[in-house]
Amino acid sequence: MELTMLYYIIPSLIMFCCGVYGFITRKNMIAILISLELMLNAVDINFVVFNRFLFPGQMEGMFFTLFAIAIAAAETALAIAIIINLFRVAKNIDVEDVNEMKF
């Protein structure tokens, strides 16, 4: 048995699908954010895997992932700040209940 790219791509795909599922179904904003992290992570894996298998001599994929992680961190921090602020105002962080700004 050889370790081909397939074995890396499949879990990444499943992880992404889980992220999608979670993002769409969850109500809690933090849970949504978590699902988002899953998706991001799946994409990161893909970058790395493609870089490693197809272009072993270069480092673009790795760097991209590096930056993606940094940005993800920033984004999460900001999102959580917003969520907490929202919680203070609305005492609730369910997306469906927070629709004051709708329309």
């Binding site: 999608v20 993002f23 179904t25 997306v95 469906e96 629709n99 709708k102």
Partner: protein, 642 residues
Amino acid sequence: MDITMPLMILAIPLGMFLLLGLFGNKMSHKLAGWLGTLGMGTALVLAYTTAYQYFFSGSELFINAAGERLQHAVFDYTWLEFTEKLIIKLGFLLDPISAMMLVVITTISFMVHLYSLGYMHGEKGFQRYYAFLSLFSFSMLGLVVATNIFQMYIFWELVGASSYLLIGFYYTKPSAVAASKKAFIVTRFADLGFLIGILILSFYSSTFDFVTMTSNPQSVFASTAGTMFMGGSVLTWGLVLIFMGGMGKSAMMPLHIWLPDAMEGPTPVSALIHAATMVVAGVFLVARMFPVYIVQESALEIVTVVGALTALYAAIVACTQIDIKRVLAFSTISQIAFMVVSLGVARPDFHEGLGYMASMFHLFTHAMFKALLFLGAGALIHAVHSNDYTAMGGLRKYMPITHISFLIGCLAIAGIPPFAGFFSKDEILTAAFNNSPLWGIWMTGVAGLTAFYMFRLYYRIFWWNNPDYGHHTPHDGPWTMSLPLIILATISCVAGFIPFGEFVTWNGHEYIIHLDWTVATTSIVVAVCAIALATVMYRKENAIPTRMKNAMKGLWTAAYNRFYFDELYIFITHKIIFNLVSRPIAWFDRHIIDGTMDSFATMTNYASEKIKGLQSGSVQQYVWVYLVGALLLAGAVIVFVI
């Protein structure tokens, strides 16, 4: 010829209308009345002078070497230019019939002006009344001197409008308002025919001008040949439609229904407009176009049939009415129908178109004696304060002047020599017999009926019984009312001796009237019999009329209800036009057309309401939609592209 005088004939009444209409309410009644009468008097003098000049000056403008009377346009201003050929001009055409009409109109109008001073004394809106009278006189004079058919149409409409205003003079009375509305709309409907007729004729002849049209109709209307429309030649259609205009104004069946109701107006107005002048406009119109009509004899036959039916119908109805003005109104319809028949039976190959001359002659005499009768009726109504003869009786003692003049009027209309009506009616009957014995006998019968219903009226008013008049003993009116009666009575006595044929014939050639004694004797015998019958039935109060009525109940009821023409019209207008056309259209407009427009708005609203849901603000929904969209796209790319 100098244009000042003809111009003034038109300008004075118009000026009076403007003066009295704009500043009338600042004047006293007396001033306004006399101003109007004086104006009309001046116009009368001018018109007489003009007519005199036309007939007797012998100027080559008016009569050529062969003794033919000519048509002469004294002036003809361009008023509105449609195309190079189709031009409406306002002019003044002098020819035998217009000169004759000038005399008739100014005479009657002056009499009515004078009479109204007494009759309308103290009425509210006296100035307005005189203003309208002046407007009417102006329009009527303009109508008869029209040089072209469109000028005639213009004044035709104006007389219609002034008639509307005068019928509705007592505007607070709903019946008067309704009558005026009816008169206007019915004649408007007829005018529609007139207008279409004008359009058709002018389309083929490229002219409005009477002289051009009538001088050589064969070639002017040559282009109509062969053009058929629904089984009739175009020229027939045009002429019949023009005659339809005449039917409206002259109250021919079935467009007569407005005239009896028009009696709601003041009585002098009825005398002027609805007996002597405006209602003969239709006859005048056909006479004006007569040279064109004889090109197309089928049109003339239609004219005859309409006239004959109307004459009989109106005479029968007149026998049953109890409102004296209505009786006179139906008598007017019947007499005008005589003139129409006379025109219809006139053929150029018989005695220089005798029927034409007879028609005009009858128009002239009828105007005089019918105005006399109406003014007499006015005096009676003024005295008794009622329109119904049931409220009258035995009045000969109280109102001698009215009595005598009314009697003269009745004799004249019944056709007893030597009164005016005899001569003109006799010519008509001669012409009718010449055309076809059917029309001759028919019209003689109608003449007999005329004598009967007129004397029925006469006896019921002046004999019959002596009701109690209480404190208000009826008496003759003031001199302003009596004088016109006397004058008109005199004219009615002598007018028959005017050698009318020397003045008026269809082609301008002189024609010496000679009585056809067979016809004359017949008609005199018939008239005398009818008068005798009326004398038996109505001279003293008795039960014969009631028995007669019961004997012919069906006929009597139908005639009393004017053979249900009004009901028919009400049915057509209210039930059909209003309920079956207008209301559905209005409904259609509100609900279908407008509904469609509104539904666009509603649909837009609905759609945006729906689309609004998509913009829910729910990120999850966005993601889902985005993702599904992206997947579909990706799937499509994978399957179809890669």
